[in-house]
Symmetry: C5
Subunit: 308 residues, 5 copies
């Protein structure tokens, strides 16, 4: 039985180890591949996401047109020895053939364009867990817009996907994203309030891994007790990692930063917080190929310092 | 055949006994476990709920950060000899392994965040009765937002869950919660009008156990005859217990009270009303572990005085 | 082949006889039980409904608290030799055991609270025709809110229930209730216009039995030709019975009347109109038990005068 | 291969012959019965619809109360040797027994009341193609509200019914009715613009037979090129028949005309336009029985002049 | 493994070859038929669409009434040796018999009228992939209204169709059409921003072939970086072809142009951009038959210059 100790928000929460998780054989096999057979191979995760083409449109590739070609990301994932590449059904079907077995796939099942506003955001599935099995994926990705006015159907649909994951032994990586009119009224999607809630929701709905954003300080529109909370960035990060409980946390790299050192500093900050890994997309594939590989190697060096 | 006697609201209604209920074998076996093999073991129920992380967010754990770790609640449930712990699929999957068999599980199938307002409240299912069976649960929990403008789909969905419960012999514990714009216009969710209606709805839709809140006096926005009713707290409680008919009633502890004596007084008040038990969450797990266990033991002493 | 004679609204329409109905064996067996093995046993129907706890809340029982206990209604139905008791799944599951075989059950499959307004009324099912079969019911009840802005989904759902009834040989009793914003704009739910339309809709959608309300005179908001129609109560009743065609008509007793004679007069009025029977709830179970039984016996004496 | 000739709107389009249609065996057998074994028996159709009781309410029968009794229409259909009677599930179930085999049935699967306005009109199904098979029907009828703001779900649902028709060899008769807020803004449901579009939609969605209304001239709210079109009635009729392509066209008789000659003139006008037949309801069953039969015989004499 | 080279928007992207696509056997067989057994037979596509009767109504045929007869388009497709004809279920069922085997079919599964406005555009399916298999089609067509406020259900439904295509080996041709209130607010459906996003979405959701429109320059309502982009037409075309990745691109001919030379110039422009082909409807079938065939032959001559 786990010991219960009074934890203070100052200490980094312990990263959940694969062996400590009570998951099915299939999930364990697949997570093991992500954690120990690929990427840093020490129980951490370094994931390359490529869902921005659907979520934001081709505009995201303007700074580096070469990356519009999905092969760019696949080659980067292979050469950079990522733990997995995360993308949707269309890209997976069309580009995976040449990389099969060389880089694990997180098949992103849901997604949308950013053309309509996010007031009542929903992230519709366009692929299934069975698609993921058929493609040899090692996990599925799914976006939950936490707190959206349409959370009713969003949560129900996620529930069905979770059940399929259970049935088929497929790890569930949740993009747990606060979104919608109501979260805007309560301070916005990026605040500690929003990210902390999103972390807990991921655990509550049965995610195995959660993708979160680095939490900004709460603002005056946030509800109490967050509104009055004054915590520095590391503490905010540890707080949301702790709220995710036994869910492995990945922090997002967010929009592109030109300064390599800043990116690496972020990695250290994230890993120090107890996160299991990072998901860096634009900060990688918007760099020229060789510089992206080089930066990735530096990230590897950092992550080597965080064995499970 | 049951005798029909003119009941006056002054007398406490008789608590339904397990043997008097016409339920399937499977439900009877599972309810027996809750009523006689765990908890006070005398036909009463002492349930520890932990659905607040989803319903209210991590904010609820701020007064006692240790409780953010679900092991805290599991250990409390085991050490405090609760009848059951009630929580959602994510927590059940992740934390039950170490406590399997030692504390019955009420798997809460539905839930939502409190980020959007409750004007058109819905409580979407994210797990199924089959999940509960797979996890070895002894009951499922489900929230019905009584009187919500979206009661149409809420009631239909509950109907399907009830049928699954029937098919699989799984007791149905209903969080029967008045909610939404219309109930606000009629005095609010906490009034005797609202709670009394919620109690009856639980019986009508086929719940086995219902979780209610202690009813507040009616106010001037409540419809007649409630508006004119002047009844003291014990009578109000007995009234809603009576309206629940053969459904076992659990009263909620509500938000945290620091005064132990006040909590114990509430337990007595509830049990005197004919309730089958209490569901105390924050009033327990927001206390330091040892004090929570100690308070639980005092509750046990009280409940021992209410054998079936 | 049926003869076609020019009917005038002055004559009472002939009551459809069981043998004249073209229904499946299963429906015939079950309707026979209602019409000839229970109640007046002469082809008329005397039904005791108890769906008010869900539809109106416990408030309906305030004038006679004893009736809050469902055993009251069951005992009244048995002692009063009703044709059937009509109630929902929760009450049926919990209270039927002691009365099995002694009183036929009409399982009401749909229902709602009256907390939100009826502008876009829907009556969601919370039980199925298979539930009714499992419980040994002799008919199912279903509410259709005729003319509701949401008639689209209401009618579709009813269609599915009708098909199940066909498949399982279960008579379908339709609570055909004009309701919603649009009917209010056209004079309200109680007018001859509304009730006449509701009667026809019951026949069109395939009901076997329909519950209607005594039609009030049309008012100036009703469409023509109803607006200009001046017909006394008996003629109005005959008109809606005629519009129901081969559907057996039950008229509702409506809210409670203290005057026994007035109740009995109503029964005669209804039966004279060609109705097959009456459905008296609050007018019965809001009376003290013995007076309710006594009044029921008087109703029996009247109905004995209307053999098939 | 069909010859392509430049058609001018002055010539009547050729009526599609049964042998020229590429339909399944089942559809061919059933259409043959309608076209050659009943009614005029020369490849034309004379259909008696009785869906007005649901669509408009009992008010439609006020001018001829005898017709409220569905036997009136069945007898008229048999004595008048109609090609088929078209009505809903409730009437079919209750009245067909005495006429089985003597008059083909078009089972109308969808319908609604006219109590709410038609701004967002939908026509929900309340019966299935399997119901039609079970009842020995020779076709199903279905209403599509062309151009309704809710065309999304309307078209999808129709697609499923069409697939069932394909599977079961059941001809699909489409009530192709322009309806809703948007069509009102574009000149209304009766204009040439609206009816012409409705005719084409019927062909596009896979109807076998379509019921249309005689098109009125376009008005200034109609879109171009219709707005500027000045065509006499015969040309307008030919235009919509041509737009229906290989779908057999039935024109509706619309509301009642007292003048027999006017009715007969309409029949000639319709048949001259290339229509396959007429669907006359109120113009028939609102007449006294013998006069309705007599008028029908005159219609037969006209239709005899339009062999396939 | 594909080479990654820094591509500049000045160069035409390489057209994906059939052999380079990782698709199932069934899809490959069917695409081969379209690319090499029909039409230009050199890996390019020349498709004749006829969905305008549903999408725009019969008005589209006014300039050439002969084309209202679907045989016109079928004969043109055969005589003009098109790669395929693209039309809906009703037309396919009714007219294909005489042309079976002589012209491949792209069965358009979804469609709608243009009567309501496009603010919340949806394109409902009215046929299934199984219909396409039954009819011997070589591909299905489906419309996705990219960026519609109702993209939630649109994307989900498309996902199910895609899965059926996968299961049955049926190529998926996506009409990827920016549409709805939100895209209007961002510059309109025809801009480079809109078309470029639509191209990428087609790849992301798993289309095999995409139909796009020639992109207009961005306007000031378009988001950055498009707003500031100044690219000539050929560059804009290449940009969207590149964004479509491995999806074969067809450009639409749009509304009719009288000048043959202009049409041919467009074909060259499109093919130069790396597109796989063109989809010319009104520009063909609104011409007299012989002139349409003649123009088609000229198109063939151009396309012969673009072998795979």
């Amino acid at each position: 039985m786990a010991a219960v100790s009074p934890k203070r928000s100052r200490e980094a929460p312990a990263r959940p180890s694969l062996s400590s998780l009570s998951i099915s054989h299939g999930k364990r096999v697949r997570l093991w591949r992500l954690l120990y057979a690929h990427g840093p191979r020490n129980g951490t995760l370094l994931v390359l996401p490529l869902d921005q083409g659907l979520e934001h449109g081709p505009a995201d590739f303007f700074p580096n047109p070469a990356a519009l070609d999905t092969d760019f990301a696949f080659r980067l994932a292979v050469d950079g020895e990522y733990s997995a590449i995360a993308l949707g059904i269309g890209l997976a079907e069309k580009y995976m053939r040449d990389y099969a077995g060389r880089i694990p796939l997180i098949l992103k099942l849901s997604g949308k364009t950013n053309i309509p506003d996010d007031d009542e955001a929903v992230s519709p599935p366009n692929a299934s867990v069975e698609d993921a099995v058929r493609l040899g994926a090692d996990a599925v990705g799914y976006t939950l817009y936490v707190g959206s006015p349409r959370q009713g159907s969003e949560i129900r649909r996620l529930g069905r996907v979770r059940q399929e994951c259970e049935r088929l032994g497929m790890p569930l990586v949740l993009w747990s994203y606060p979104r919608g009119r109501a979260i805007e009224a309560k301070g916005g999607k990026g605040t500690l309030y929003a990210q902390d809630y999103a972390a807990r929701v991921a655990e509550e709905v049965g995610a195995d891994v959660v993708k979160l954003h680095e939490p900004e300080p709460a603002n005056e529109r946030c509800p109490e007790p967050y509104r009055s909370l004054r915590e520095p960035a590391p503490e905010r990060l540890r707080r949301v990692v702790r709220s995710a409980g036994k869910v492995l946390v990945l922090f997002s790299g967010g929009s592109k930063q030109d300064d390599d050192a800043a990116v690496l500093k972020k990695v250290r900050l994230y890993m120090d917080s107890g996160a299991t890994g990072v998901m860096f997309g634009r900060n990688m594939w918007l760099r020229p190929f060789d510089r992206a590989v080089a930066l990735t190697r530096q990230v590897h060096r950092i992550m080597a310092g965080y064995p499970a």
